[in-house]
Every structure is written in structure tokens, then in C-alpha cells.
């Protein structure tokens, strides 16, 4: 396990940001999902030791997040969500500076800065002043400074925000390359579900500071529920209410479809019985491939 937390609590004054989260994360790429205010960024900051949990405990690489932050940060790279730079610097000196702060010798940090800047695609513009960089270049720069000291684990907070589709694809390619071929584990915090789906094998979903779901995306899709799409003739609201009484979440799409989340022990015949009892005709019924959006919606509540 690279990350283990037990009963973690953190609040900003009266606002509970993390409320009793317990989880264990293995090596690989893990997506941290949740709506705004779910506690994703706070969890990253607690794991980095920026914030001290009020209750509970956690370990990163076996190091206690409350007392051994320095040792943790030596092995971890962090790419924050906000644009970060030091005005007056170029990318080479910026990246090597942070390598040096991580404990690399000065000369080595400089050599390494050149390498990682080429790797993230900033090789040609590495001597330009950072103030002149575009949003996409700043994202790459943040990634470069996060990997300059060759960390074992990368925390990426919204790595594709402010990027155009092409830039987003390139950054995702880089992250995929890092996590799959470079033996570096990645924890990506994002609200763009397709990004997580493209890069991660595991997912952690937070909602209102609590753990809503956790596991491999494939297994969660399989085990957590089955998704069926159906179309009925008649007042679909009656069917929604009826199925809702079974405790199965239902949502109506803009295309006039009903999406029913059937729990593992649920019997699909109940849907047809309900329709029959409400005098509705089922015109279309198909098992749908669950996407991460479905999983997310199910975990945080479809309402």
C-alpha cells in the first residue's frame, strides 16, 4: 500500500471537509473524484502534510502524515491546480530550483531540469520567461517541477484544467506514460470524468467529505449496480415513483429514456411488474454499459 488513511477528519472551522475517510491505495493510477467541495483537494493537502488532520491517521509510503511530512515530500511530487510560477525566472532555472529544494545537488538538478522539460514538451521554450507562457505551457511546467526529483508518487490536482482539447490530450498522454511505463504512482484529483477514465484503473469517489465509492473502475461497474435503459409509453413519472419505492435510483434523460440503477441482488422483472401494474408499456429495454459518469452519479446520488 502506498497510501493508507483511517478515520481521517479535517474541518475548516465549522465546515467539515473530510469526514471519517478510510482507504488504502495501491500502486498505479488512482482517480480522486467528487463534486466541488467534496474534499478532494483537502485530502491531497492532508496527505502532503500541508494540513494536519484533527482526527484519524494516515500513512504515505509507511510514513506518518502528521509527523514525517519532510520524508513524505521527498518521495512525492505535487502539481497544484492553480497557476504557479516565480516571476523573472525561465523554465530551466525554475525547474532546477525546485529540484534543488527537493535535495538534488545543484548541477544534477540543472541537468535533470533540461531532461524533464524536454519530456513534457517545453524543450524549445525552456529559456523563455515564465510570465510569457500560455496556460497549457504553465500546466506542463507544473508537471515538470513535480517530476524533476523523480518522485515515487505524483499528486496531480486538476491537471487538465484550462487546456484546449489538444493540450488536454497531450497532458493526459504524459500522465498515462508516467503512470504506466515509468513506475511512478499517480493520484489524480479531477472533476473531468473522462480524464480519470482515460488514465486511471482505480477510482476514489468523495462526496461531502465522505468516501462514496472506492475500487477498480471495472469492478465498481460490475459489482455496484447494473444499469438498464428503458422507454415506456404513458406517464413515466408513475414508473419512476414506483421503482423509487424499491430503493433503486432512477433518472430520466433528455432523450426520454429512463435509466434504472439495479443493485446486485435486484430482480429486473420487478421493473416490468411495476410497469404492468401502472398500466405502462415498455417499448425499449436494454442493459447499458456503465460509464464513469454513471458510477459517479450513483455514488454521489443521482438527485
Amino acid at each position: 500500500m502506498i497510501i493508507e488513511v483511517k478515520d481521517l477528519h479535517f474541518s475548516y472551522g465549522p465546515i467539515m471537509a473530510i469526514d471519517g475517510v478510510s482507504l488504502s491505495l495501491d500502486e498505479g493510477a488512482v482517480g480522486l473524484l467528487g463534486p466541488n467541495g467534496a474534499g478532494k483537494s483537502t485530502l491531497l493537502r492532508v496527505l502532503l502534510g500541508f494540513l494536519r488532520p484533527q482526527r484519524g491517521e494516515g500513512r504515505v509510503f509507511g510514513r506518518d502524515i502528521r509527523f514525517e511530512q519532510r520524508l513524505i515530500r521527498r518521495q512525492v511530487g505535487y502539481m497544484p491546480e492553480d497557476d504557479c510560477l516565480i516571476p523573472g525566472m525561465d523554465a530551466v532555472s525554475f525547474t532546477s530550483f525546485f529540484g534543488e529544494l527537493s535535495g538534488m545537488p545543484r548541477q544534477e538538478a540543472m541537468k535533470r531540469a533540461h531532461d524533464v522539460l524536454f519530456y513534457v514538451g517545453l524543450g524549445e521554450s525552456r529559456y523563455r520567461l515564465l510570465e510569457t507562457y500560455s496556460a497549457g505551457m504553465k500546466q506542463r511546467l507544473k508537471l515538470a517541477q513535480a517530476i524533476v526529483h523523480d518522485p515515487r508518487l505524483l499528486f496531480l490536482d486538476e491537471p487538465t484544467s484550462n487546456l484546449d482539447p489538444q493540450g488536454r490530450k497531450e497532458v493526459l498522454d504524459l500522465i498515462l506514460d508516467i503512470s504506466s511505463k515509468k513506475d511512478i504512482s499517480v493520484l489524480i484529483c479531477s472533476h473531468i470524468l473522462s480524464d480519470i477514465e482515460a488514465v486511471c484503473s482505480d477510482v476514489v469517489i468523495l462526496n461531502k467529505g465522505r468516501l462514496a465509492a472506492h475500487g477498480k473502475i471495472g469492478e465498481l461497474r460490475r459489482l455496484d449496480f447494473r444499469l438498464y435503459e428503458l422507454k415506456v409509453k404513458g406517464d413515466e413519472q408513475r414508473l419512476i415513483d414506483r421503482i423509487g419505492r424499491l430503493g433503486w435510483p432512477v433518472e430520466a434523460t433528455e432523450e426520454g429514456l429512463l435509466r434504472v440503477y439495479v443493485p446486485p441482488q435486484g430482480e429486473i422483472l420487478n421493473i416490468f411488474r411495476a410497469a404492468d401494474e401502472e398500466g405502462l408499456q415498455v417499448r425499449h429495454f436494454v442493459r447499458s454499459q456503465t460509464s464513469l459518469e454513471d458510477l459517479f452519479a450513483r455514488a454521489v446520488g443521482v438527485d
Binding site: Y12, S41, R45, L48, F50, L51, Q69, R70, L71, R73, R74, V76, G77, Y78, P80, D82, D83, C84, L85, I86, P87, G88, M89, S93, F97, F98, E100, L101, S102, G103, M104, P105, R106, E108, R112, D115, V116, F118, Y119, V120, G121, G123, E124, Q145, I147, H149, D150, E170, D173, L174, D177, I178, K182, D183
Partner: protein, 289 residues
């Protein structure tokens, strides 16, 4: 723009625990300050008084050769504690120190706040004290080069030009006074600059504040003193307090008729308050959003 023109390689070397983790921050701060042409001009211009005083020391030892130039003002060229006090508490030197802080120190913390760089620093094996020590050391290096360095140079050149140790024998405490005043004025300006730099994300506001607080405090003193003729109003002025402290440490007559302890207390209180605020600002603004 293509990606991966070069592959990613693992770095095999060890990551060292630095004894002075703040040193790269100091080096960077000095490098960025000296990248500005205006700063270089100001910094080297600040050494003009020191050069003039060094020439004064030389002339004082060759007084016979320069008698036609000084025409009976030879007491001005007597190298004694008053000579040091005159250098250290001169309006020009104090003004140049403030200007150096304005140009070279205003952005130290403000730029990091504005560009969200604090979280990058603190995602490294770095404590807040390392960060603050790194930033403070930039100012300490600049200020000590204008205070301690010239003071030591004055003593050394006095001994060299006179060819005897009589000066040290007459004033054995002068080295201590030079060190104490240099440390005091450096610590004060350092905390004063860090305080104002941490209060805003905009370095221009900080620059204006640095200059304005120093100037306005002195103007206020002038206005109140002009109206009420009460020397206690000197406590309002940062410059007057520094001059009081300087006169006290060099055992000279105080420029204002108030106890030097009060001035030292005011400077210490400003410094302590600055430290508390800086400590809070650097912790709360960026790390806890």
C-alpha cells in the same frame, strides 16, 4: 508542440537532507534582485557614503597634507565613535536602505502569494522556518553589506592608515557597537519589509507602503514636533528611532531628549509584531485555502 522529444529517465542519485535548506531560496532571491538594472544602480549607489567616509579616514591620517582643503574643520575628520554614528544614522544611508527594500525586497513574499508559489515551496521537504529564513537572508545579506561591512572596513582602514592599534585601545567596544547596530538595523528593516511584503499580493502596493510608512512616520513626527515642541513625538518616526538607537549604541549624545530605551522598545515591538503577522500570513494564505 510535440511531446516526449526525449524520454523520461529515473534519477539514480540520492536526495540529500540539506543542512541549510533555505540557502537555494536566498541565492535565488539575490539573483533575481540583481537582475534588475535599477536595483544594481541603487545598491552600488548606496556605497557612496561608505566611500566618502573611507576617504575621510585617509584624509584624517594625512591631515597636514590636506589642511588647505578643510580650513579649520579638522574635528569633522576625527575618526571616533561620533564618526561611526554619523555614518550609520545619516539620512542618506537610511533612505538608501529603504529604497533597496522597495526595489529588491517588496516582492519577496508578495510575488509568491500572487503567483501561488508557496504551495510549490511547501510541497518540498521544507519547513516554514526554512522558507522565511531564505527570504530574510536575502535582505540580511543586502543590509549587512551596507552596515557591518563598511563598519569593519572603517576600523581596518583606520588601523592600516594610522599604523597602530591606538584606535582599538581607545574604543575597545567600537567593534561591538558596529556589530550591534548593524544587527539591529538589519533585523528591523528585514522584518519591516517581510511584514509589508506578506500583507499584499501586489508588489507595487508593497513598494508604496514600504516607502510611505517610513516617510509618513517621519513627516508626522515633524508636524507634531513643530506644533507641540515635544521630543516624545520622535517615537512616531522610524528614522528618528533608528537614529536614537544608533546614538545610544555608539555612546553619543541622543538626538532627541527622550530615553533611548523607548526607541529601542518601539523598534523591537514593530519587529515582534511583524514576525507574528508574517508567520501567520505565510501559513494561512496559501496552504490553507
Amino acid at each position: 508542440m510535440t511531446i516526449r522529444e526525449k524520454g523520461y529517465f529515473h534519477w539514480e542519485g540520492p536526495l540529500r537532507e540539506r543542512r541549510f535548506a533555505w540557502w537555494p531560496i536566498t541565492r535565488l532571491g539575490l539573483r533575481l534582485a540583481f537582475k534588475k538594472k535599477g536595483f544594481k544602480f541603487l545598491y552600488f549607489g548606496s556605497f557612496i557614503p561608505a566611500l566618502v567616509f573611507l576617504v575621510g579616514i585617509y584624509i584624517s591620517e594625512r591631515i597636514g597634507e590636506f589642511r588647505y582643503m578643510i580650513r579649520g574643520s579638522s574635528q569633522l575628520l576625527e575618526v571616533n565613535p561620533a564618526f561611526f554614528k554619523t555614518y550609520y544614522t545619516s539620512d542618506f544611508l537610511l533612505f538608501m536602505m529603504v529604497m533597496l527594500m522597495v526595489v529588491g525586497g517588496a516582492g519577496l513574499v508578495a510575488d509568491d502569494l500572487r503567483h501561488n508559489a508557496l504551495q510549490l515551496y511547501f510541497s518540498r521537504p521544507l519547513e516554514k522556518r526554512d522558507y522565511l529564513a531564505g527570504k530574510a537572508s536575502v535582505l540580511v545579506a543586502l543590509l549587512l553589506s551596507l552596515t557591518l561591512l563598511p563598519g569593519l572596513a572603517f576600523i581596518i582602514f583606520k588601523l592600516l592608515f594610522s599604523g597602530s592599534f591606538r584606535f582599538i585601545a581607545d574604543y575597545p567596544w567600537i567593534l561591538l557597537s558596529v556589530a550591534a547596530y548593524s544587527a539591529a538595523v538589519t533585523a528591523f528593516f528585514c522584518l519591516y519589509t517581510l511584514l509589508l511584503s506578506s500583507l499584499s499580493r501586489n508588489r507595487r502596493y508593497v513598494s508604496i507602503l514600504l516607502f510611505a510608512v517610513y516617510l509618513v512616520s517621519d513627516i508626522l513626527f515633524g508636524i507634531f514636533y513643530g506644533n507641540f515642541k515635544n521630543p516624545a513625538f520622535a517615537l512616531l518616526s522610524l528614522k528618528a528611532n533608528l537614529q536614537q538607537a544608533g546614538a545610544f549604541l555608539f555612546r553619543q549624545k541622543l538626538p532627541y531628549d527622550i530615553p533611548a530605551g523607548w526607541s529601542i522598545l518601539i523598534l523591537a515591538a514593530v519587529g515582534a509584531a511583524a514576525w507574528l503577522v508574517v508567520n501567520k500570513r505565510v501559513r494561512s494564505v496559501e496552504v490553507v485555502k
